[in-house]
């Protein structure tokens, strides 16, 4: 029983990170209608930027603020210089562009930070663990759970409760109508891409002390992010959050009893849900 509780806790912590990734990807896919294959690479860049910023400034918290902003700026540039020119070009070109971009970012990481993996320890304050009664748990994971949870809630509040969030959701529903209402749709796309990149970047930065860094780290995460988006329903933000948590917990609980299947279960859950609900958990189309 204690083991199961511990695993569920693990699943929620991991699931929160999956939700962050899925939320960002869902936002980009929903608003811009573009399959962003560079989302995993942005995740990796977030992690590497954190390590560099912490190396220079010597402060983890500053790194956690600066690194994702750096990734958001990178997202801004990517949208402005590349994605923007491909809105009319169809999915093939968008796919090729984002996929190529992912490869370029991956190689740039190798050029700048080297091919060998790096370990990055949590800040001194969050090292070690606490006894929760039923299990011993790392402090840093509890922090990640809280931080990712807060980010998910903040993003959701922004999208649901603010005027700009409403415009963004409207953009997902019907782009023509939004632009007919006199709203700068181009600006909306840029902001959505940058926000999606920010979420990928902060997920990467938060993950760095848990999983360490290696140039291929984004590839693993990209697959999971797409599963989360498909499972939650394309462009459905609440769905992405629920799907992220579902996959994280399913992975952890299965690992408690049948470790060999811990990777396969991600895809098994997706296949099972899509068989019953082809539009995803909360999707309508």
């Amino acid at each position: 029983m204690n083991l199961l509780l511990g695993q569920i806790l693990n699943g929620i912590a991991t699931g929160m990170l999956y939700a962050l990734m899925g939320l960002g990807l869902s936002l980009i896919t929903g608003v811009l209608n573009i399959p962003n294959f560079a989302h995993g690479a942005l995740f990796a860049v977030g992690a590497y930027l954190l390590v560099s910023v912490v190396g220079v400034l010597g402060n983890f918290w500053l790194g956690l603020i600066v690194a994702p902003i750096g990734v958001a700026l990178l997202g801004l540039v990517i949208e402005w210089a590349g994605v923007r020119r491909l809105y009319a070009a169809g999915h093939d070109y968008q796919l090729l562009f984002t996929f190529g971009l992912a490869l370029i970012l991956n190689e740039l990481i190798i050029v700048i930070w080297g091919p060998v993996g790096i370990s990055h320890l949590p800040p001194a304050l969050l090292r070690g663990g606490v006894d929760l009664g039923f299990t011993f748990y790392p402090k840093y994971r509890l922090f990640v759970m809280g931080m990712a949870g807060a980010l998910v809630v903040l993003t959701w509040l922004f999208l649901e409760k603010t005027k700009y969030g409403a415009i963004m959701r409207a953009g997902i529903e019907n782009k023509e109508m939004v632009s007919l209402l006199g709203i700068d749709i181009q600006m909306l796309f840029t902001v959505a891409f940058a926000l999606g990149a920010y979420l990928a970047g902060i997920a990467g930065a938060l993950t760095a002390p848990i999983r360490g860094l290696s140039p291929g780290m984004g590839v693993d995460m990209l697959g999971i992010a797409f599963v989360v988006v498909a499972l939650g329903g394309l462009g459905n933000l609440l769905g992405a959050i629920a799907a992220g948590l579902l996959i994280g917990v399913a992975q952890a609980v299965v690992a408690a009893y049948w470790t060999e299947a811990s990777t396969a279960v991600i895809f098994a859950v997706m296949a099972a849900v899509l068989l019953v609900r082809p539009q995803g958990l909360f999707g309508i189309r």
Partner: protein, 407 residues
Amino acid sequence: MSNLKRRNILKAGALGAAAAGFGFPSILRAQPKEIVMLGLWDQTGAFADVGPLNDRGMRMALEERGMKVLGKPIKYITRDGATQAGTSTRRAEEAIDGEGARFMIGPWSSGVALAVSEVAKRKKVLHLFSGGTEDISGARCHRYSFQWAASPYTAAKTVVDNFMKANPKAKRWHLLVADYAFGWSVEKYIKEVGKAHGLEFVGADRHPLGEREFSNYVQKAAANRPDVVAMINFGGDAVAGAREIFNFGLTPKLPLIMCWSSGVEELIQLAPEIRDNLWVGTNFYYTANTPVAKAFVKSYQAKFKTPPGYAPSAAYSMTRMLLAAFDKAKSDDVQAVIKALEGLEVNDLLGRMKVDGATHQTLRPYFFLRCKPKAQMKHELDLADIVATGDTPLPKQYAACKDIGGF
């Protein structure tokens, strides 16, 4: 009559020479002049990061000899097998048929190498391999393939015996095992050797190759309250596992063993705090005290800045063994070189090394290391001490290679 004959021969010769010069299959071109050696090193797939390191080692061994053996030039070619059996066997066959390769080394993955070994047998080319499956020199042994890495039994015996000598009370073991050929082989012998020490295996969880989320496994391990956690996995898996075991506070309170590590390549990816109370079994460590190892490490470091781990060292040493067999055979005929390799004894990279003619297993020492706490490190690469080496060969009762067969 004789005149005509001579003219015909001259004509045929001229034609042949012209054809060979103008795009006839290079196999015809290659055979008489040069010896073609194939390095089957992955540039893509799960071991994409390892292939370039293998290539460095093989190239260095060939360059030491001026790319020549028995006075003939060596043509070194490499192919990317993508860490997949299908791609690797196809590329190997293409290199054998198209380029005339008769000697091949690699690839890095045990599972893939077993498939490549079948190609070697069918095409009758000499094949050297280093990795954790016991089948190349065991159940699926044949005359054309050779194994450089220590037998999983030798590795398990070295690790368990020497760890227990240093930690006699650590009897409750939890194993974390990569779920493929290599993991299963080493796990089997760790359990077997553990019997003599009265070990209790409180858990043994298998994880898929390429696993990155280890929290679930570590929590299970912690719940079993072991005295020690032993991992039988490799590369990125081992690094991710060690990191999470530290994050959950198991190390440094409990010792962690990496049973089959790549050595320095894995260790430098871990922060010094994570290496505290970490014990490591490996096929090569760069402080190995032999003249060949010292010279190799020195020139490798001069070239590539970092010291060599298991991957470049294995490729380097396999190539040297192959060249030594050429010297012994005084021939570049595949079967003659195989006969020379069988029973070959050299004083090389690891010290005394001998190829068992009956199984094609290299009998050689396996290394057991203890990592140093941060305070004791003299420089950045002063990561571990070699505590012991072991070379106990696989006992007869476990040997699965009953008959190596003919050519």
